[in-house]
């Protein structure tokens, strides 16, 4: 694992996101910091509801009220983007930051042909005429592996299968060759072969164009193959972040250890999958100290009182009192 020589393309510093509710504010993202270098893939994993999508949404400036950023900064190529006016942010979105959302239907308009949606996006960001844009649209559909792309180009979204729609959304995000791609579960509806194709495509973009990718997924197989580093999130915070081999093969944080054990494996036959007992606390009931303490098999007194911050442990950063000066 090389140290990242490049200045980061994306830097998130102490990000905090809250939801205003009648019963007071709910903290959904709490003091999250990380960076991604050009050409690097940062995988983001973690419990459902941990705040992975919200972090991505905050970066591209699409948080919807009552959600808002209440502290921290987000920098793209050294420039702050978390406080930009709507118009300026809209220009960055698509052109410099491409987003693939978890839900393919929200990014596709059911009333327009796929060709129209691709051509419009391409022409908004790139100086191309209708004909050139159409050729580029076709090329994109082929790159994401839509069979019979030429025949499919003029179809409507509902005429595509779930996985095909997801690939159309990927094509839309790649249309203007952005510098940073935020991919939220881009391959969850896809089978392994298409997954491999999309991953190869993303990796090629990273290599050839220095594109940086924030890859949110719960699929550890995809992470193991694609990511350079991984961040593990739990209850709105980063529990562990480090090089992919370290996190997958020598997880430190008890939550990461549990997560790795819950993966079904083809080779092993078990009656029941290992599950981490209990569930993640609701946002309004996050316990004091370490948020994982009610479920943690290694919990000790300090965990119930003080909140651990990430600190270096064997090449990763781990937020757990078992390590460092904690004990």
């Amino acid at each position: 694992m090389t140290d990242r020589p490049n200045a980061p393309l994306l830097e998130v510093r102490s990000l905090r996101v809250e939801f205003e509710t009648r019963r007071g504010p709910l903290v959904a993202i709490d003091d999250v910091s990380f960076s991604i270098a050009p050409g690097e893939v940062l995988g983001v994993v973690g419990e459902s509801g941990a705040g992975k999508s919200l972090t991505g949404t905050a970066i591209i400036g699409l948080l919807e009220p009552p959600g808002r950023i209440t502290a921290g900064e987000i920098l793209l190529a050294g420039r702050r983007i978390d406080n930009l006016p709507y118009e300026a942010m809209r220009r960055i979105r698509g052109r410099e930051v491409g987003a693939i959302f978890q839900d393919p239907l929200t990014s596709l308009n059911p009333l327009y042909r796929v060709s129209d949606q691709l051509i419009e996006t391409i022409r908004t960001h790139l100086p191309m005429n209708e004909k050139e844009a159409r050729a580029r649209a076709l090329q994109l559909l082929q790159e994401v592996g839509i069979p019979g792309a030429a025949e499919r180009l003029d179809h409507y979204p509902h005429q595509f299968s779930g996985g095909m729609r997801q690939r159309v959304v990927i094509a839309l995000a790649l249309a203007a060759e952005p510098k940073l791609i935020i991919a939220d579960e881009p391959t969850t509806a896809l089978d392994v072969s298409i997954q491999a194709q999309i991953i190869t495509l993303l990796k090629r973009l990273c290599r050839e164009h220095g594109t940086a990718v924030m890859l949110i997924t719960h699929d550890m197989g995809v992470i193991a193959e694609t990511a350079d580093r991984v961040a593990v999130m739990y209850a709105g915070r980063i529990a562990e972040i480090g090089p992919v081999r370290k996190v997958v093969q020598e997880p430190h944080h008890p939550y990461t250890v549990g997560l790795m054990g819950a993966i079904p494996n083809l080779g092993h036959d078990v009656a029941a999958l290992t599950q981490i007992e209990g569930s993640m606390p609701r946002l309004n009931a996050i316990p004091p100290g370490c948020a994982f303490n009610p479920r943690c098999p290694k919990v000790f007194d300090r965990c119930r009182v003080d909140r651990p911050d990430p600190m270096p442990v064997g090449g990763s950063d781990v937020a757990c009192w078992l390590y460092g000066e904690g004990r």
Partner: protein, 339 residues
């Protein structure tokens, strides 16, 4: 084991007309275009079993699911559920009691939850519809279901947009379970979930299956999940079933070249350095599928006969395979996954 057959599907077909409108065809040229999404699929599911469908994106898995629960009528073929034919809308209309015993968990949890309803009402709907419970008991049951899928009873007050992707998927699972179905069609039920919640849901589904004798049709592209939950697995390619067998048999002794290709493409989590062989070639368009065995364009064992003649499924020891090479006995032994 003489088990009771719950679902029997025979020569099921569904074609979609995706032609341009008539007028533009006349003006711009171009003929009719038909997608053969499902093209002659037959299988049976016995009570208490889990039958899984796997195959590449677009091969027709969701369409099979939708035909079975009656969201689309079949172009051809028959569907017999608990001994009653539900092959066309008229037959379905005559058997609402059968329809009520099937529930479906959709691939897309966003599209299937009404954004204007509170989660509690969404989950209570099948309970009220089937008049399973009344008054306060409905609310208690909703709370219990929410807890079962790892959410909290208080979440009943909220709206779907207040939940993350995986939390929404769990809401749709709770709703499907609420109607006390005997037969559950699960289209990628856990693909939006992180592995620990996935484990929770899969374990829950197995427990419910054991205690209530539920039958599942399960669709997933995750072969590890499929190997974990299924009794039998069917592999689909371009609208047809190319191989189906008991789960262990299929994973240990895959016969069809396509099944082998899928198994070879599984990502390597152990990072053992096992070469992951990407599936070679592209999925052909279902609008103009190849002749003969539709897999011949990607198959290393294809011959003239494969290009000309559609292979029929052969059954050997309960393992069914539609492939000429298998029939002709010229297929090499499977090397196994570990290689």
């Amino acid at each position: 084991m003489a088990q009771e057959t719950v679902l029997q599907v025979d020569n099921l077909k569904r074609y979609f007309d995706v032609s341009k409108p008539w007028l533009s065809r006349v003006l711009e040229g171009g003929g009719r275009q038909v997608v053969q999404a499902v093209d002659g699929v037959s299988f049976e599911i016995s009570k208490g079993e889990t039958f899984s469908l796997v195959g590449e994106s677009g091969c027709g898995k969701s369409t099979v699911a939708r035909l079975i629960v009656g969201l689309y009528p079949p172009t051809d073929g028959s569907i017999v559920f608990e001994g009653v034919s539900l092959s066309n809308p008229a037959e379905r209309a005559r058997h609402p009691e059968k329809q009520a015993r099937m529930q479906m968990i959709f691939q897309d949890p966003y599209a299937s939850l009404n954004p204007r309803w509170r989660v509690g009402d969404i989950i209570a709907e099948p309970i009220r519809f089937r008049k399973l419970l009344e008054g306060g008991a409905v609310k208690a049951r909703v709370g219990e279901l929410l807890e079962q899928v790892g959410l909290s009873a208080r979440d009943a007050e909220k709206y779907p947009h207040e939940f993350s992707g995986g939390q929404r998927q769990r809401i749709s699972i709770a709703r499907a379970l609420a109607g006390r179905p005997d037969f559950l069609v699960c289209d990628e039920p856990t693909s939006a979930l992180d592995v620990s919640v996935q484990a929770q849901i899969l374990n829950l589904m197995k427990e419910l299956q054991a205690s209530l004798n539920l039958t599942y049709l399960f669709i997933s592209h995750n072969l590890a999940v499929v190997s974990h939950v299924s009794t039998k697995v069917g592999v689909m390619y371009l609208g047809r079933l190319v191989e189906w067998a008991e789960t262990r048999t299929l994973f240990n002794r895959p016969k069809h070249p396509y099944t082998r290709m899928l198994l070879d493409a599984i990502p390597d989590l152990d990072m053992s350095g096992r070469a992951r062989t990407p599936v070679a070639g592209e999925v052909p368009s279902p609008i103009n599928p190849p002749s003969g065995c539709t897999f011949h364009t990607r198959c290393p064992f294809a011959t003239e006969r494969c290009r000309a003649e559609v292979p029929q499924a052969l059954s050997v020891d309960g393992q069914n395979v539609a492939c000429h090479a298998v029939e002709e006995g010229r297929l090499p032994e499977w090397r196994g996954l570990a290689a």
